[in-house]
C-alpha cells in the first residue's frame, strides 16, 4: 500500500527560530495518525507545510508517491487536503452556510444559489449534530459552535487527507464523541487523518499511529500507538516523567461570598441559582451554548442582569461594569479567549498584569510610575513562574502557556475574593496545565471563592467540589463531586440529557 503522505527531512526556520529540524512523518490512507508535542514543538509549522501555508526550507513532501510543492493553501485544497486550523478561519459576518461552502460556492446563472448553500451546509452539519440555521451569521455563534462549523467546512471539501489541529479544544465530550464516530467512518472509507490534540485520552481512544515532536525534532516518527502507554507518550513529549497536580487541603467556610438567586439576564438565562463560598471551587459544566461563559459575563457586569438578585456577602448588589465588579466587590474573570479578551497582546507583560491594580497603585494626580507597576507585578510573575526575558516583553512573543499564566496572574495580583476561571487550560502544554491546576487549589485554600468553567471533564472532576450543570441557559442540577470519573461523568450526562429529552 502506498502511503498517502510522506514527509522526509523537513526543516523550516523563521528568523531566530529553527521551528522544524529534519522532521519525518508518514501517513497511510485509512489511518488516524496523532501528531503530538508540547506548545512550540513545531506541530503547527508542520501542519502549515502540509497545507501549503509555509514552504519547507529543506526536505521533501510526497503526496500519493509524487513530490509536491504547494504555492498556496488553495493548491493543497485542490489536491484533496483540507484542514481545521487552531486559529479560526471563518468570516464572522458571513452565514454559517456561506462559510461552510466558501471554497466552492454553488452558482446558478452567475449568482450564488442560496438554496443549494443551505442544503449543502445542512448535509455536512447534520453528522456533527450541529442543529443551527445555516443563515445564522458566524459571529453570533459561541466559540464551540464556530469550531464545529470549521470542521463541517473541512468535511465539505471531500478531502482524502484531513488535518485537524486541536479540533476538540473547545467542544464538550458529547460533541467529541459524535466527531470521533464521524472520523472513524471517514477512516474506514480510506481517508487519511492527521489528528493534533493535547488530550492524551482522546489520542489513545481514536488514533492508530503517532508522531511526537520535541523542540522541532522527531521524538518518534510514525510508529503504531499500540504498545505505548500514556506515560511513554508524555516522556516522549516532555523528555521526562509527568507530574500530577498536588492538591492543597482546604475546607470551604462560612456564608456564600457570591450568590445568584433566581437570576435572569439579557442574554437569556432563566432562574439561575448558584452559590460559592470562600475556599470552595464550584464547577460550571454544560454542552456547547449552555450559557456558562455568558453567565460569567453577567456576573462581572459585562452583560445585564434583568431579574432575580445577585448577592455579595448576603447583600443584594447591582454590578453594572467590570470596573465595579473589580474595585467594589473584588470579583474577577479569566477569559476563555486569551488572545481577544484576556490579554492586550501588543503590550508588555508588566502592563498586562498590572491592568487590574492600576487604580490601587496610582498616586496623587493619577501619577503611576513604572517602578510602582514593576513592584506590584514582580511577585506574581515570580510566583507563577512566567518565562519571559523581561517585564517589558510584549505578551504576543510569549508561548501559549506563558500567555495563559499572564492572563491568570493579573487576577491573582488583583487579590479578588471571587475568581471565575473560564477554560483555563485549553491549548496549554501539560506542564503548565498541571501547574495551573495546583494554582487553582492553592487559591481556594487561601480563601478565594472559585467558579471554574471547563469543558474538560477530567479537569472538572479533579478540581471542583461541587458541579453545577447548565443546559440552555439554566442550571439544571448540582452534584457533589466524589472525584470518581466514571460515576461523575454519567451523573452529569444524565442531568443534561434528561433536560434535552424533556424539551
Amino acid at each position: 500500500m502506498t502511503e498517502k503522505l510522506v514527509i522526509t527531512g523537513a526543516s523550516k526556520a523563521f528568523p531566530g527560530v529553527q521551528a522544524l529540524d529534519d522532521v519525518s512523518l508518514a501517513l497511510a490512507p485509512g489511518c488516524i495518525h496523532a501528531l503530538l508535542g508540547e506548545n512550540g514543538a513545531g506541530k503547527s509549522t508542520l501542519i502549515k507545510i502540509i497545507t501549503g501555508v509555509h514552504r519547507p526550507d529543506a526536505g521533501t513532501v510526497l503526496l500519493d508517491g509524487e513530490p509536491v510543492q504547494f504555492a498556496s493553501p488553495r493548491e493543497a485544497i485542490a489536491r484533496g487536503i483540507s484542514a481545521v486550523h487552531q486559529e479560526r478561519n471563518l468570516i464572522p459576518r458571513f452565514s454559517v452556510g456561506e462559510n461552510i461552502v466558501l471554497e466552492n460556492l454553488p452558482r446558478r446563472r452567475g449568482l450564488v444559489d442560496y438554496g443549494e448553500v443551505r442544503e449543502t451546509a445542512r448535509r455536512f452539519m447534520a453528522p456533527l449534530g450541529l442543529e443551527i440555521d445555516p443563515d445564522t451569521p458566524v459571529r453570533n455563534l459561541s466559540v464551540a459552535r464556530m469550531q464545529l462549523v470549521e470542521i463541517a467546512k473541512a468535511l465539505s471539501l471531500d478531502a482524502r487527507l484531513l488535518v485537524l489541529d486541536e479540533p476538540t479544544a473547545s467542544i464538550t465530550p458529547y460533541e467529541t464523541e459524535t466527531l470521533f464516530r464521524l472520523l472513524r467512518e471517514l477512516r474506514d472509507k480510506g481517508v487519511a487523518i492527521l489528528f493534533v490534540s493535547h488530550k492524551l485520552d482522546e489520542v489513545f481512544e481514536l488514533c492508530d499511529s503517532v508522531t511526537v515532536l520535541r523542540d522541532g525534532r522527531n521524538a518518534c516518527a510514525s510508529r503504531p500507538l499500540e504498545g505505548l502507554d500514556r506515560a511513554d507518550v508524555v516522556r516522549l513529549m516532555i523528555g521526562r516523567e509527568e507530574q500530577t497536580a498536588r492538591r492543597t487541603e482546604r475546607t470551604a467556610t462560612g456564608e456564600p461570598v457570591l450568590a445568584l438567586r433566581n437570576v435572569g439576564t439579557e442574554l437569556g438565562h432563566r432562574n439561575v441559582d448558584l452559590e460559592v463560598r470562600a475556599g470552595e471551587i464550584v464547577g460550571l459544566y454544560g454542552l456547547v451554548g449552555a450559557g456558562r461563559t455568558e453567565l460569567a459575563k453577567a456576573i462581572i457586569g459585562a452583560a445585564k442582569v434583568t431579574s432575580g438578585e445577585v448577592q455579595v456577602d448576603g447583600k443584594a448588589v447591582t454590578i453594572d461594569s467590570v470596573a465595579t465588579a473589580l474595585s467594589r466587590h473584588r470579583i474577577g474573570y479569566v477569559s476563555e479567549d486569551r488572545k481577544h479578551e484576556g490579554l492586550i497582546l501588543m503590550h508588555s507583560v508588566r502592563r498586562n498584569v498590572a491592568v487590574t491594580v492600576w487604580g490601587r497603585i496610582a498616586r496623587a494626580l493619577g501619577w503611576l510610575p513604572n517602578r510602582a507597576e514593576r513592584d506590584a507585578v514582580t511577585p506574581y510573575i515570580d510566583r507563577l513562574q512566567v518565562r519571559t526575558p523581561s517585564l517589558a516583553q510584549p505578551v504576543s512573543l510569549l508561548s501559549g502557556g506563558n500567555q495563559q499564566k499572564v492572563s491568570v496572574a493579573k487576577w491573582i495580583a488583583a487579590e479578588v475574593r471571587v475568581l471565575i476561571i473560564d477554560e483555563p487550560t485549553v491549548g496549554i502544554d501539560i506542564q503548565t496545565k498541571v501547574y495551573l491546576h495546583e494554582l487553582i487549589h492553592e487559591l481556594a485554600a487561601a480563601g478565594t471563592a472559585v467558579i471554574l468553567i471547563s469543558s474538560d471533564m477530567p479537569e472538572m472532576i479533579s478540581l471542583a467540589d461541587r458541579i453545577a450543570v447548565m443546559s440552555e441557559f439554566e442550571v439544571v442540577g448540582e452534584i457533589d463531586n466524589d472525584h470518581d470519573a466514571t460515576r461523575m461523568g454519567e451523573a452529569i450526562m444524565a442531568r443534561i440529557h434528561k433536560v434535552e429529552g424533556a424539551t
Partner: protein, 336 residues
C-alpha cells in the same frame, strides 16, 4: 524551549524591526537630510528669517498633530480638529476683544470650549456606538456652521498687543518661542500617556477594547477623555495661530477647518502612531511634523508652486499609511 524561541526572535530581527517600528531615528535622519539638502540648494532656506518662520509654522503643526494623535490612539479619529480650533479661537477672541477679559482668562475660556466640544464628540461616539469618523464628520460641519452663524463670519482683529507679541519672541538659533511651548506640551503628553493611570488606561483600551473592558478599564471614559484632550489641543493650536496672525479669523483653517486635516494626520502617522490604536509616539509626532514642515518650506523656497507642494504632501501621507500597515504587519508577524 519557550525562552530560547523568545530570545531568538527578538535577537537577529531586533535592530531592523526596532528601526522600522520606532521610526523616530529614521525620521530624524530624513529630516536632517532635507535640511542639509535645502540649505545647499537655496540660500534662503537657512536664513534667520526663514528659520524663524519655519519654526513658527512647525510649532503650530506639532500641536495640530498632537490633537489628532490623542484620538488615533483610541483607534478613532477626529475630523473636527480644525473646526474645534477655529470655534475655540473665536471664543477667545470674543473674550479678549468684546468682553475685555484678561488674556489668561480668555485663553482658559478658549481651551475649555475646545475641550467641551471635543468631549461632546467623545460622548456622542460612546453613546451612539459608532466610529468617531461619522460623529466628527457631522460635528465638523455643525461646529463650523454654528460658529459662522454666531460670528457672522467677522474676525476679531483688535486683540491686545500683549497677546499678539507672544508669538513674536525669538530665541536661540532664531527659533520661534512658540516651538518651546510645543515641546513643553509634548513632554506633558508623554508623561500623561506613559506615567499616569489614565494614560495607561487609554493605551489599553485603544489596543484591545474588550480585553481592557474585561479587566476593569473604564473604556468609555477613556474615549471621552481623549476627545476632550484633542479638543483642548486643537484650541491651543488655534490660539498659537491667532497670536501669529494677530487676529482671530473664522477662515484661518479653511472651509470647515479642513486645512488642518493633512498636517493633523501626517505628523502622527509618519511618527509611528498606529491607526488601529493602542500605541503612540509623542517624539515621532514631533519629528513627523518637522519633516513635513521642512519639506514644504524647502519646496516653496525652491519656488515649486503651492499646489505641487500640496500634491507632495498627499503622496507623503500615502507613504506614511503604507508604513503604518507595514509596521502593523511586522508587529503581527512577530507572534507567528
Amino acid at each position: 524551549m519557550s525562552m530560547k524561541v523568545v530570545d531568538g526572535r527578538a535577537g537577529p530581527r531586533g535592530p531592523t524591526l526596532a528601526l522600522l517600528a520606532s521610526s523616530e531615528a529614521g525620521l530624524l535622519l530624513i529630516t536632517v537630510g532635507f535640511v542639509i539638502l535645502f540649505s545647499y540648494l537655496t540660500p534662503g532656506f537657512s536664513s534667520p528669517f526663514n528659520t524663524y518662520a519655519l519654526t513658527r509654522v512647525l510649532a503650530i503643526d506639532v500641536v495640530i498633530g498632537f490633537s489628532m494623535m490623542v484620538v488615533l490612539v483610541t483607534g478613532g479619529l477626529n475630523l473636527a480638529v480644525g473646526a474645534i480650533g477655529v470655534c475655540a479661537v473665536m471664543v477667545g477672541g470674543w473674550a479678549m476683544e468684546v468682553a475685555g477679559l484678561p488674556i489668561l482668562v480668555a485663553v482658559v475660556l478658549a481651551l475649555a470650549s475646545g475641550a467641551a466640544l471635543g468631549a461632546l464628540n467623545g460622548i456622542l461616539t460612546v453613546a451612539m456606538r459608532v466610529h468617531s469618523f461619522v460623529v466628527t464628520l457631522a460635528t465638523m460641519s455643525l461646529f463650523f456652521g454654528a460658529m459662522i452663524v454666531m460670528t457672522k463670519a467677522q474676525a476679531f482683529n483688535a486683540l491686545p498687543a500683549a497677546f499678539v507679541s507672544l508669538a513674536k519672541l525669538k530665541t536661540y538659533f532664531f527659533a520661534s518661542s512658540m516651538l518651546y511651548i510645543s515641546i513643553g506640551i509634548g513632554v506633558l503628553l508623554w508623561w500623561l500617556f506613559h506615567h499616569t493611570l489614565i494614560g495607561r488606561q487609554i493605551l489599553a483600551a485603544g489596543a484591545n477594547t474588550s480585553a481592557a473592558r474585561l479587566s476593569g478599564v473604564p473604556v468609555e471614559r477613556t474615549i471621552v477623555v481623549c476627545h476632550a484632550l484633542s479638543g483642548a489641543l486643537a484650541a491651543f493650536a488655534g490660539l498659537m495661530l491667532t497670536a501669529r496672525n494677530g487676529a482671530a479669523l473664522p477662515s484661518m483653517a479653511g472651509q470647515l477647518g479642513m486645512d488642518w486635516l493633512l498636517p493633523a494626520f501626517l505628523a502622527p502617522v509618519l511618527g509611528g502612531t498606529l491607526l488601529t490604536g493602542g500605541t503612540l509616539s509623542v517624539a515621532g509626532t514631533f519629528l513627523g511634523a518637522a519633516m513635513v514642515t521642512v519639506l514644504s518650506n524647502g519646496l516653496l523656497q525652491l519656488e515649486l508652486g503651492e499646489f505641487w507642494v500640496q500634491a507632495f504632501l498627499g503622496i507623503i501621507l500615502l507613504v506614511a499609511v503604507a508604513l503604518d500597515r507595514l509596521r502593523a504587519h511586522l508587529m503581527a508577524k512577530r507572534r507567528i
